[in-house]
């Protein structure tokens, strides 16, 4: 099949057994809701256009509390609106999947592709002590795989998982194969509030804790799960990093543009490489740290003002210089621009 990224998000969700989508339209992700509006009724599912983003995320909360797989999707400004609900979902230890097909910001910003929600996604989407898993696909095919993974990870760790894409990836078309995803063993949802028929104690799904001691213990237990996620679920990809002097660190669609620049740099005899985090949280710190032993310089490339730069500095303990190239406001960097930056950094080597 030749599919748009947005359509693949919808199809992969259906194939992951998700039968509930709650959302509110916003460019550039609306094809996803359109696709599901046509497809969900055919598989006995529900695609509901809520009255707002806030309503949609709370419907997702309720639906997941009953043990069903449900997800929501939006683009940057709409995701901001969902932040309260996401924090409540975390506080209720519920699984859920959230899709952000990023556009330019801040504010209403624009409709063209961006990656300027990196910090929001990885550091502070909701209030409270919290993390959640952030997956950054770079290929339409990878969306198919990661959407399935997102639902599984959410169930295994009882946490929201965000698929962080961008307008270009959502709108572009590539061939896709839905059989590629690996199968995981999933825990039973013993906590779900789905009717007990007087055969067990009723389950309560809630994020309010009357006693601070109990709340602290709940947060600590959650952070034990985060530790496990950091140990077991890091995903990344590398290209020609083995002998690289200059290593680009880039994710999502930008990593593919950077890859073209790396190839061009190699043709000019510059030893460039590309490291692509696939999980933005948990961040591939160990792998980047190991790379810092070999490379001379890092170059972060993003469609924002350098939101990932600090993560690279922390992961590598500032042992190598970390430079940045990016475009923002909905402008997509070109391979030539990135190549020019690599050449400039190469000239200044030694």
């Amino acid at each position: 099949m030749l599919m748009k990224g947005n359509e693949v998000i919808g199809e992969a969700a259906i194939r992951a057994g998700c039968r509930y989508f709650f959302g509110y339209p916003i460019t550039p992700q609306t094809e996803l809701a359109e696709y599901l509006a046509k497809k969900m009724p055919k598989v006995g599912g529900l695609c509901l256009q809520a009255e707002s983003e806030v309503a949609a995320i709370n419907m997702v909360l309720g639906c997941n509390a009953s043990g069903e797989r449900a997800f929501t999707s939006s683009s940057s400004p709409g995701v901001s609106l969902k932040s309260e609900g996401i924090s409540y979902i975390i506080g209720s230890d519920l699984p859920c999947v959230i899709v952000n097909v990023q556009r330019g910001g801040p504010g209403l910003g624009g409709i063209q592709p961006a990656q300027s929600d990196y910090l929001q996604a990885t550091k502070a989407l909701g209030h409270g002590d919290q993390h959640f898993i952030v997956l950054a696909p770079a290929y339409v095919q990878e969306i198919a795989t990661l959407m399935g993974e997102a639902f599984d990870l959410a169930d295994i760790y009882r946490t929201p998982v965000m698929l962080l894409a961008d307008g270009a990836l959502g709108q572009m078309m590539e061939p896709v194969d839905f059989e590629a995803k690996k199968q995981r063993t999933l825990p039973e949802k013993t906590w779900a509030a789905c009717g007990h028929g007087n055969k067990r104690e009723h389950n309560v799904v809630n994020s309010l804790y009357i006693s601070p001691e109990v709340l602290e213990q709940t947060v600590l237990a959650r952070f034990e799960r985060y530790k496990l996620i950091e140990e077991k679920e890091v995903m990344y990809d590398g290209y020609m990093t083995e002998d690289a002097d200059i290593c680009i660190v880039s994710y999502g669609i930008t990593a593919r543009i950077a890859k073209t620049a790396v190839k061009a740099a190699r043709e000019k005899g510059i030893k460039a490489g590309l490291f692509r985090p696939i999980t933005l949280w948990p961040y591939p710190k160990k792998q980047l740290s190991a790379l810092a032993d070999k490379v001379k310089k890092f170059l972060v490339v993003e469609m924002n003002m350098g939101q990932m730069v600090d993560d690279v500095k922390v992961a590598t303990d500032c042992r190598r210089p970390v430079e940045f190239f990016g475009r923002t406001g909905g402008i997509i960097p070109t391979p030539d621009e990135i190549l020019a930056k690599i050449e400039e950094m190469n000239g200044g080597a030694d």
């Binding site: 030749l2 748009k4 078309m173």
Partner: protein, 219 residues
């Protein structure tokens, strides 16, 4: 070839989302210009925010094709707009190729229904068997009927644009042609040609319209 089969000065290129309408429209404009015709291309896409005719403006104008592009195409203004200049397609003697948005985008045509009928038009339905929601003949027929109902105009023929992007083979096109023929038969319309990227090797059945890939490249 596709160009010879077109009877009217006004050519509407419609179809399902992502079927490849812009690729067909842009290549048709270039082919007509190369054949010595005076050509105009109008971007009437009111649904798609990126990947549109406006991306090809430079190469089209270089070969003498007049481009009618919405003022807000590829900007951050997220509203459907049609430039006043669009009216000119009903007044000139150029061959005018109208690139319409997918599915619901066809509603933009209905505003100009009378003009199209008065001047005469060919309406090409671009079909891609590799796209979800139109991979079956029945779905394609449903899509054709929906577009006809929305635009108040009649599709005159199908163009088999079955492709998998860079992974397209002659088998992709030929397999798509079978579905396209079945859809055309059910809808009571002819298949005009298969539109195929120049680099696709192997034998293609039926009439072929060779195209360059006009989709904007990011990397």
């Amino acid at each position: 070839m596709l160009l010879e089969k077109i009877k009217n000065r006004l050519v509407i290129v419609c179809g399902h989302y992502g079927a490849g309408k812009t690729n067909v429209a842009v290549n048709l404009a270039k082919a007509a210009a190369a054949a010595g015709r005076r050509v105009c291309i109008a971007d009437l896409d009111i649904v798609n925010p990126y990947f549109r005719t406006a991306d090809n403006r430079e190469e089209l104008e270089a070969v003498g094709v007049r481009c009618i592009i919405p003022q807000f195409a590829n900007t951050n203004v997220d509203i459907p707009s049609i430039p006043a200049e669009f009216q000119s397609v009903f007044q000139t003697d150029e061959m005018c190729i109208v690139d319409v948005g997918g599915d619901d985008g066809a509603v933009a045509l209905s505003v100009y229904r009378d003009g199209f009928i008065e001047c005469g038009y060919d309406m090409l339905y671009v079909f891609n068997a590799c796209r979800p929601l139109t991979s079956e003949a029945e779905e394609a027929v449903e899509s054709i009927r929906a577009i006809e109902a929305m635009s108040s105009l009649t599709v005159s023929g199908l163009v088999n644009n079955s492709n998998l992007g860079a992974e397209t083979t002659s088998e992709t096109v030929n397999r798509g042609l079978k579905v396209c023929l079945a859809a055309a038969k059910a809808a009571g319309k002819p298949v005009l040609a298969s539109s195929v990227f120049r680099n696709v090797a192997g034998r293609i059945e039926g009439d072929v319209f060779l195209m360059d890939n006009a989709t904007k490249k990011l990397f």
